[in-house]
């Protein structure tokens, strides 16, 4: 039996996808709501989380250890059910690092066609900064009833071959830092090298660092500000198909969320292989320097 959960109002293209900390505080105990915390640091949930929230670990729970891909349909159904999620559950994601990993987990749920997924604006830091309650108590979970559904990688996800084929045809957005884009480094500041052989970017990709979409407190900028950043400054227009990438797909999941749900682009794909795959791949072109560069002839 579905119990629908009210949608928060905003002027974003899909206002139902983004909720405030206040909204979460009010609705988190609704019988059809499950709140998932997805962090880069796997221990962070254990140090304190929103009461009733359940941990999801992107590294150990969303990835298949053998295929270097996401878990398959049966694994996903089992994982979701174990967190009390059924197919019609409203799932709210939040986490550390301005919601990078929360957006990433939400994106994986989207690949599996889970309809009602929402992101908590500002993430974990904003909840704590507002002095809202956190707890170390891990909630008891009543197993959900989740069907085995096929993942659809065709609409929201891009693979290396598709990106290669898109150069010069579709807009590409590189959301890494400027130093990663130019090739000065292969990693973001403060992060160790991750074994990428070459620095630079995919030919023709525009540089729009993910943080361009965020305010100081980790919340998203207004729709008007975002429109200027992407539609005007990055020349995306409104009808383009877009592919976003970063280093391993988490920062670009953040940008995917912005383009897809806050600005309403119909076709946005996240290339999760990103620079760790592209920068190491044999036979694919790169560009070094501040200019997007030309498609290879």
């Amino acid at each position: 039996m579905t119990t629908s959960v009210p949608v928060e109002q905003s002027d974003y293209a899909h206002p139902e996808k983004l909720v405030s900390t206040a909204w979460v505080a009010e609705h988190k105990d609704h019988p059809n709501v499950v709140v998932l915390e997805s962090n880069e640091d796997t221990l962070l949930y254990s140090t304190g989380h929103i009461p009733g929230a359940i941990k999801i670990d992107w590294h150990t729970e969303l990835n298949d250890p053998v295929t270097r891909d996401f878990i398959g349909p049966e694994g996903f159904a089992k994982m979701a059910a174990s967190k009390g999620i059924s197919r019609d559950t409203t799932v709210i994601f939040y986490g550390d690092k301005s919601n990078w990993w929360a957006a990433y987990a939400l994106w994986v749920f989207t690949l599996y066609g889970h309809e009602d997924v929402r992101l908590m604006n500002g993430g974990r830091d904003k909840w704590i900064a507002e002095g809202r309650e956190i707890t170390r108590e891990v909630p008891d979970v009543t197993e959900g009833d989740y069907p085995v559904v096929e993942r659809d990688d065709s609409t929201e996800r891009a693979n290396k071959a598709q990106v290669l084929d898109s150069i010069g045809k579709l807009p590409l957005i590189d959301v890494r830092s400027a130093a990663e884009y130019t090739g000065e480094t292969t990693h973001m500041a403060g992060y160790p090298q991750e074994g990428t052989l070459r620095g630079g970017h995919i030919p023709t990709a525009e540089s729009v660092p993910w943080a361009t979409a965020a305010n100081e407190d980790g919340t998203f900028k207004s729709r008007e500000e975002l429109t200027k950043v992407y539609a005007e400054d990055a020349n995306l227009g409104q009808t383009d198909q877009v592919i976003a990438y970063c280093r391993i797909g988490e920062r670009s999941a953040h940008t995917w969320f912005v383009l897809r749900y806050l600005l309403g682009y119909d076709s946005v794909r996240n290339y999760d292989g990103s620079w760790t795959e592209w920068g190491n791949s044999v036979g694919v072109p790169i560009v070094v320097g501040a200019e997007p560069g030309q498609a290879p002839s």
Binding site: E40, D41, T42, L43, L44, S46, T47, H59, T60, P65, D96, D125, G190, Y191, P192, E194
Partner: protein, 146 residues
């Protein structure tokens, strides 16, 4: 007498290895919770400590030495609460190494993070950050002794 230090660390490693994988993170959390605060003299003076840039979150290290040819080493590590895995590993190193002789610490194997049995639970990036912390400690000692 390198066996002394290795023995302390070996006990810690055994504590981790004796646990099922899922519980090892719980133990790491205990080390994170119990990471000693830097002494008062470092408060607000993190810039006088060495930043371990390989870690994903700001982490600062100071190494103090007794006045001997083979000094006793005191480790001080400052890591923020939003980096509990890093704090946890810092806690393991402080318990295992702080108070030991410099020569003994230099004999510690470099792959301690792997020996804790956390390779499946943590991302390679984070494990490398942990190895880098141990590497920095050893480099600091080597420089001090030279």
């Amino acid at each position: 007498m390198p066996a002394q230090t290795i023995e302390v660390l070996d006990e810690l490693i055994a504590d981790f290895q004796d646990l099922p994988e899922s519980d090892r993170l719980e133990l790491l959390l205990e080390f994170s919770d119990n990471l000693p605060e830097p002494p008062e003299r470092y408060a607000g003076h993190e810039d006088e400590m060495e930043q371990v840039t390989e870690c994903q979150t700001p982490l600062f290290l100071a190494v103090e030495y007794s006045d001997e040819e083979d000094p006793i080493v005191t480790l001080i590590i400052s890591a923020p609460p939003e980096a509990p895995t890093t704090r946890g590993f810092a806690g393991v190193l402080i318990e295992g190494l702080s108070g030991q002789r410099a020569s003994e610490i230099l004999t510690v194997p470099d792959d301690i993070p792997n020996r804790l049995g956390l390779t499946n639970a943590l991302t390679p990036l984070r494990l490398r950050g942990m190895s880098a912390l141990l590497g920095r400690i050893k480099r600091n000692i080597t420089t001090h002794l030279s």
